[in-house]
């Protein structure tokens, strides 16, 4: 029965997608090799090939459920649907490698909120990028490329993405604290961590477009270059140093030896960022964001462990102590 349900869903998506492609990109719109890449509670990603004119184009459909999120997801400022598409288009305009958006779904498409983008070939799985010999050239310049890409993201004009929520450090700390409080699951180590964050707030901060989840796992990588930055839904207006810090959080090193995505060194990330942005990077300022990144990831694990009853969500819930351990050990 379940299999039938999935097939029906797939056929339904294929039919509506065909009409959407024909309307947004051009006829005939025939859909081939439709397969679901991810299926979360709030968004789903499908890969397919579309017949547009004489060409068979590899594409991706990104769907999001929009504002009817429940619980704590609703508290976090998330970018979805049309705004997500606009953000990626603005990023591409600013020279950031982002998947090219080809069309934004309208209500008459009958698929809810979402957009269609080019399929960008490459690798996102950390284990492969960190270890396979073919990615050696990428690894040699990974930290530098990250610095250059982040500089371009932070140079994006806020006016071009007016829907982004201001989300500087004090507001983030307050929001994540309120989420933690709502679960009424007191964790003394998190109380220590929150106190640390409040006591170490950076004295000065810029306000730029911030990606919010720039890390290994969200980058489509080729053998030599980072080809596309994915998962812009946590983007906001805030302290640009947040993105440098998050990239170096221990969890996102996936067991690799380097601070930057498990591969590179902070010095290379910072110097490339400075050259590309004209800004000076204060390592202590970035360190605040690495530490706060541990705390934030711990709260996200807490949220996942209390959300939907699924194998994957519960497994993430049991990861909460990893970043707390890293934070207490100062290994960030």
């Amino acid at each position: 029965m379940e299999a039938l349900g999935i097939k029906t869903g797939q056929a339904d998506v294929a039919a509506k997608l065909r009409d959407a492609v024909a309307r947004l990109l051009g006829p005939p719109g025939d859909i081939l090799e439709l397969r679901r890449l991810t299926a979360g509670a709030t968004k789903a990603t499908w890969a397919f090939k579309a017949q547009v004119g004489n060409a068979s184009l590899p594409m991706v459909l990104q769907l999001s459920n929009g504002p009817s999120r429940s619980g704590d997801d609703a508290a976090l400022p998330l970018v979805a649907g049309r705004e997500d598409a606009a953000l990626m288009m603005a990023a591409a305009q600013a020279g950031v490698p982002a998947p090219p958006v080809r069309g934004v779904l309208t209500e008459e498409c009958g698929l809810g909120q979402g957009y269609i983008m080019d399929y960008v070939a490459g690798e996102t799985i950390a284990r492969r990028i960190l270890r396979e010999p073919i990615f050696a050239p990428l690894r040699a310049s990974f930290a530098r490329q990250c610095g250059e890409i982040l500089a371009r993201i932070h140079r994006m004009e806020a006016k071009s993405v007016p829907f982004l929520t201001p989300f500087a450090a004090p507001r983030q700390i307050a929001l994540y604290r309120s989420i933690y409080d709502r679960y009424d699951h007191p964790v003394p180590a998190l109380e220590v961590a929150f106190r640390w964050a409040e006591d170490h707030l950076p004295a000065t901060t810029g306000e730029t477009v911030v990606h919010g989840d720039f890390r290994m796992g969200n980058l489509i990588c080729g053998e030599e270059h980072i080809r596309a930055v994915l998962d812009w839904e946590l983007a906001c207006l805030g302290d640009p140093m947040q993105d440098l810090g998050w990239l170096c959080v221990k969890t996102w090193r996936f067991g690799g030896p380097g601070a930057v995505g498990g591969i590179g060194e902070r010095a290379d990330l910072f110097s490339a960022y400075e050259r590309a942005s004209g800004m000076v990077v204060n390592p202590a300022h970035v360190r605040f964001w690495e530490g706060w990144g541990c705390i934030k990831w711990a709260i996200i694990c807490l949220m996942k462990g209390q959300s939907q009853r699924s194998v994957e969500a519960f497994a993430i819930g049991r990861r909460m102590e990893e970043p707390i351990h890293d934070f207490l050990g100062g290994s960030f």
């Binding site: 003394p188 109380e191 990861r319 102590e321 990893e322």
Partner: protein, 121 residues
Amino acid sequence: MPSSFPSAPDLLAVVRDFFETDILPAAGLDDDKRFNVRVAVNLLAMVERELRLGPEADAAEAARLSALVSDGGSISEKNRLLARAIREGTTASDDPQLLDHLRRTMIDTLRINNPKWLGDK
């Protein structure tokens, strides 16, 4: 119950082994299912470790907590009081005894949840 055989940890070990050797290599599992079976297998291993290591970890935590929090009975009651004391400032968040306790608690928890994070097998 204590005399029922095989033991609970052994049941988990056998179920996990079954999924790893008989189910995972089977043809016909799509990527999504294969991923979820792997996660499920990890959770079984985790619960097995919790059954084997949990009681000793709890006892150690309870002993350390008694030195830090005089009121409250159970571990979770003491943790609630300790959390409040840190938030209100009656317990210093940089107190060495507190930090030592928290670090040990995290290490014992990771030995159950994910020993690889500690560099262990």
